[in-house]
Assembly symmetry: C2
């Protein structure tokens, strides 16, 4: 990008793709769109679209996200960029992949958009995906799992107030393994990132569960 800067170089089309995660029915789900045009017609794809001149990559991803789900102010993180020459049969298309975590209770409106060609799929039961979207998805899931261990991620998938059991279920569906209730609570509480409220969730014929909220950790050194 130096002295020989010029317009003689051919430019790729630039898109963003967003893997949108949520928790529904105790399952980890992602939003997919069924294609209705020719390359990979009828196959399912991760939502995405062109980056417009004048916007940042993140803005493009946030715009795409809100177009598909109607929600804004969502946890959004850049994942990786994919640019292999053959990845789109229509030509040279480079995509910057993001992943988003959205709380199930933000989905009221859009939860029943199965009228359209948009659907939530369990990540453990996916259709074949168009383009290299299986690669993108796989990477996003690995990243999500990794972040769950070191970072304060996971709360973004839950309502503001949540029970510890709900949080544990969230971890369990993402990591796809069961955890010990006592150890889980001990660990989470030791991080000092959630605070108990004096509200309870009454749910059925059993003891009500206390609701907690996520609190940004103080400006200390370590995250965790």
């Amino acid at each position: 990008m130096d002295s020989e800067y010029s317009y003689e170089y051919e430019r790729p089309a630039l898109t963003v793709d967003v893997v949108i995660y949520t928790i529904q029915d105790n399952e980890l789900k992602i939003l997919l769109i069924q294609r209705n045009t020719d390359p990979y017609k009828d196959m399912w794809a991760i939502p995405g679209g062109f980056v417009l001149k004048g916007e940042t990559l993140e803005q493009a991803a946030a715009r795409e996200l809100s177009e598909e789900t109607g929600v804004k102010d969502i946890y959004l993180e850049q994942l990786y960029s994919f640019g292999d020459p053959g990845r789109d049969p229509r030509g040279w298309v480079v995509t910057v992949a993001y992943f988003a975590l959205i709380s199930s209770d933000n989905l009221k409106i859009e939860a029943d958009t199965d009228a359209k060609d948009v659907k939530w799929f369990s990540v453990y039961d996916l259709p074949r995906l168009a383009f290299d979207h299986d690669k993108i998805l796989k990477l996003s899931l690995e990243r999500l799992r990794a972040k769950l261990e070191y970072a304060n991620v996971g709360f973004q998938l839950l309502p503001k107030k949540f029970t510890l059991t709900a949080l544990q279920k969230t971890y369990e569906v993402i990591l796809n393994k069961t955890m010990d209730k006592r150890n889980f609570r001990k660990k989470i509480l030791s991080f000092n990132i959630i605070k108990e409220t004096d509200e309870f969730k009454r749910d059925g014929n059993h003891r009500p569960a206390r609701l907690f909220t996520y609190v940004e950790p103080p400006p200390s050194k370590k995250k965790h």
Copy 2:
């Protein structure tokens, strides 16, 4: 990237930038190029260049790397993509940043290219950088440090055969802190990723140091 696919969207220029790390004189250094043309003329920049049609992003980064340093088969990892509208005053330029780790003993030829406008700088003593390259650099350093803790990175900065002290020095300059010799050795050896050779490095008037080599861990579960 859907039904409305077309060429009506304006396309950005696409570049790769590569933060090239090495260890020299017990310091962590990166390669910078002094610009001789107008935007940011005379300032220093991370090496980079246009992605050519038909190559992968990684190939573009590897090409750029070998053009600058003359070395190939180097540890290369995609870092992040930067596309803020204002980042290049000449127009819309999106860059995919990579970082590379290269062993000091691969640098014989190029070590003295200070004849040119190319120079190795200690990461702790950098000039002002062009574009948003300070951001790229900062992120790459964070990533390098993080990987040092969970992944088998670090060996790429050393010759095939190295002493444990050299490895520890590598960790120390990257993390910018001193470490305990006994604990360091215990930890590294427990990972079973290095193997002792029966060669020694004779260095001065002191006991020779055993040389070790990195061995790919067996296909077990955990990395570390």
